[in-house]
Symmetry: D2
Subunit: 129 residues, 4 copies
């Protein structure tokens, strides 16, 4: 499954060059990953209520072209790898035919103590990849 979301760049997300600042792309990507989970039907709130969490272990991001205020960006998110307690999601931000940024995000399930753990079966993690 590939999840798609559009986002319009707001002026306060830009730096003194008029470009979206590097940190803000991570906000965009996080938003898009939550939307991926929503599209997949994954019960993230339930997971948290049951005492589990998901955390981001690693991000690799390539900045290809700067995005600017008013740009309409398309963010696509899809799973590329899956282990028992973790996985990798690919994400790509484009504007029209241009690639703005590409990322690989490694996530892991954690228990109450923050240690990676397999979640209970009622959380059908096959939904995540």
């Amino acid at each position: 499954m590939v999840s798609e979301r559009e986002i319009k760049v707001r002026p306060y997300e830009c730096d003194s060059y008029g470009h979206v600042n590097n940190a803000n792309y991570l906000n965009y990507l996080e938003y898009a990953r939550f939307e991926f989970m929503r599209d997949a039907g994954f019960d993230y709130q339930g997971l948290r209520a049951a005492g589990y969490g998901m955390y981001v272990a690693r991000i690799e991001i390539d900045y290809r072209l700067p995005a600017m205020v008013d740009d309409e960006l398309l963010i696509r998110s899809w799973p590329v790898k899956r282990g028992v307690v973790s996985g990798v999601m690919a994400q790509k931000i484009t504007r029209g035919g241009d690639t703005i940024a590409e990322a690989n995000v490694t996530w892991a399930f954690v228990g109450k103590n923050g240690v990676p753990v397999r979640p209970p079966p009622e959380f059908d993690t096959s939904l995540l990849g």
Copy 2:
């Protein structure tokens, strides 16, 4: 040269888990890279005034342990690789003896048109690595 800066986590930098959100680490790292340039005596304002810029082409970041409000973090930054128009800087965020995050940041010089370019010699880029 290794540049060191301390930063204290502020409450509005944390997410609903009470952890520094992932995007904010990139703000911390950017701050520390500017401070590295300051320590190195690199004239970044002059570079911009002369029509050049530096942009971040790639970031790899590993999140090891969550940082929380009031944490006193130490950020160390040092160059690890150097080409003609680009370079890589390593950065490590620690809290006491614990590693919070580690990153490699690839940067490049660009001209007015945003294309990678070698800056004029008065910007002694050996200062950057």
Copy 3:
């Protein structure tokens, strides 16, 4: 003239209660004021290029109801008062029939030195109220 813009709340704009944090409303309002200037046909970029600026001198904001992630907010902006070098704009954020926040924002024109000043006549400031 009343300018209207819609904004959808993104998860990273919310605090640990799941509510949009108070500071972020000011970002929303700033965005909407720029859009007001755009709707009015005011040449803000030209004003800055000519060495002038506009700054916010005072904000009064009443928070009526919390906004949450995914909320679709409507922001209306309209001028309520006008002096020679300054003015007041009213702004109201609503969600459906509910008022989320109301603000009065006092702005002023400034010259290069940051001192309030009347801009040159080619900037038809009647557009602002």
Copy 4:
């Protein structure tokens, strides 16, 4: 009681003028109000754990002078008015002898349903003003 905190402006908190953006001052003030509660010995975490909250109902802020990157700001916070379920706190941001911004912040206690309410007596709210 007057609570004092120092904050050093970070580059990513500044806008394209090189000034701290208006929204960020509200983050600074929020930080300083939490520190006021800490200084006063008020058990805010306990209040939340007991199902109560505090919310900001109104902010009036006057921006006097712009703050810039590296500025060392002093934020002073003190109570100026107190009702049964609400109160007003004054806050002043200075840099050396200069006033950067002044604010009055109206807050209220709320119960689980978000309605203003008197908290139970074990939360000695006299600590807040």
